[in-house]
């Protein structure tokens, strides 16, 4: 059975909510919601990706009442920019995809940090210089795995 990118996006978003909200394991699980947006951006048009990011971000914001809207803004922005990379970068090399997932996730965390108003050097160094790169590495590894599985699935008749 061939699996379309839309199915992968839906699976990633559902898995994210199941792991982080349903089972409450927090950062132990990779940020699959961001991966869903970044993955979808490789197939969808810019408006659709921005809408996907906005919608998924809003779902995250439902659990963050003190920073409501910050995830929707960050995900819509990153989704829109990520979908434009298709016209800037050719190919799906390992290096490109690794950079794509890493920069996408780190940028999203940075925009969220700015939008949420968590000003101050302490939170900047903690969240953006330490936690965000680690989370981005985790997301990158997961994103590459998802990409590999998806590609293998598509190759099968």
């Amino acid at each position: 059975m061939r699996v379309g990118p839309g199915v992968v996006v839906a699976i990633l978003a559902t898995a994210h909510l199941t792991l982080r909200v349903g089972l409450g394991i927090g950062d132990v699980a990779p940020d699959l919601m961001t991966l869903a947006v970044l993955f979808g951006a490789r197939f969808m048009r810019t408006p659709s990706t921005a809408a996907l990011g906005f919608g998924l971000g809003l779902l995250q914001d439902a659990f963050s009442p003190l920073t409501f809207g910050a995830s929707a803004l960050a995900m819509a922005l990153v989704g829109a920019v990520a979908s434009r990379t298709r016209q800037l970068f050719v190919g799906n090399s390992f290096l490109f995809l690794a950079s794509y997932f890493f920069v996408g996730k780190w940028t999203l965390d940075f925009i969220w940090w700015l939008a949420s108003g968590s000003a101050g050097w302490a939170t900047f160094s903690d969240r953006i210089l330490v936690a965000a790169p680690l989370a981005a590495l985790y997301a990158t590894a997961t994103g590459l795995l998802v990409h590999f599985l998806f590609r293998e699935r598509r190759r099968r008749p």
Binding site: V21, L23, T46, Q60, P65, F68, R86
Partner: protein
Amino acid sequence: MEGQDNVASPSGRFDFLVPLVLVMAAAVLMKLPSDAQDVLGQSLRSTVLSPFVAMNVAYARARTLGRDFDRVRAQMDTLVSRVAAQRTLAEENRQLRELLGMSERAPTRYVSTPVIRSGTTDQSVFRMAAGAEQGVRPFDAVVTEAGLLGQVQRVGPRTALGFDWSHTDFRVSAMTADGLVHGLVLADRGQFREQDRLVLSGAVYLSDLEPGTELLTSGRGGTYARGIRVGWVAGVAATMAGWSKSYYVEPAVQPGEAAYALVDLGDRAGPATGPIAADGGPAKTGGLR
């Protein structure tokens, strides 16, 4: 992945317009009044996200029943022994109040609730499976058997959202158990979450609190009831010559450990459909004594 899609879009303008509108919409959402944000968040949590929320509640309950059974048993044994040892206190207190002509103290009411961490962006925020229908209101204290965990922020019909003491907006008026030193306790974020701690600021300059001194809520401002344990003094943080001193405080409750908590409803009357604990004792000291 599919990658390049270089076909010029006939509606290229929308490629910029739609994201721009969505980003502006998100910015508007951020600036909405908190009540409107609540309505939107609550509607999402009660519809599309409700299966995940229900799963979280069920999982938290199952985990507590399984893993924490021995711990709960030990807590219950401790409570039973304390109640047995202090059985006469309530009667003595009643008699003393009669002698002094004081009216009877209204009992404090609690609603128990699982503490649900959504695992999303804001790590200081948690959800509770009790809301307005159970009598929960914004700014009610959230406590565990060890002490103060945090505060209720937003209340829905059956759920509420709160933040723990590690949130940057957290403040509580505190005092030493003897009531001699007062100050304001606030969060001091570390480089990592494990380094988060509290700081007692505004203590009088001549105070000399030893490490290990217990700090309780003072009840000033009326937000928190008097006598809930906040933590223990860990050392001097800073001094303002001749003016005031600050102390580092080891918190009584580690946020990550709290699987269940009680919302302190105070002595106000109200609907109570959830599990209620009542404390008619003379005063609350320690966690929930």
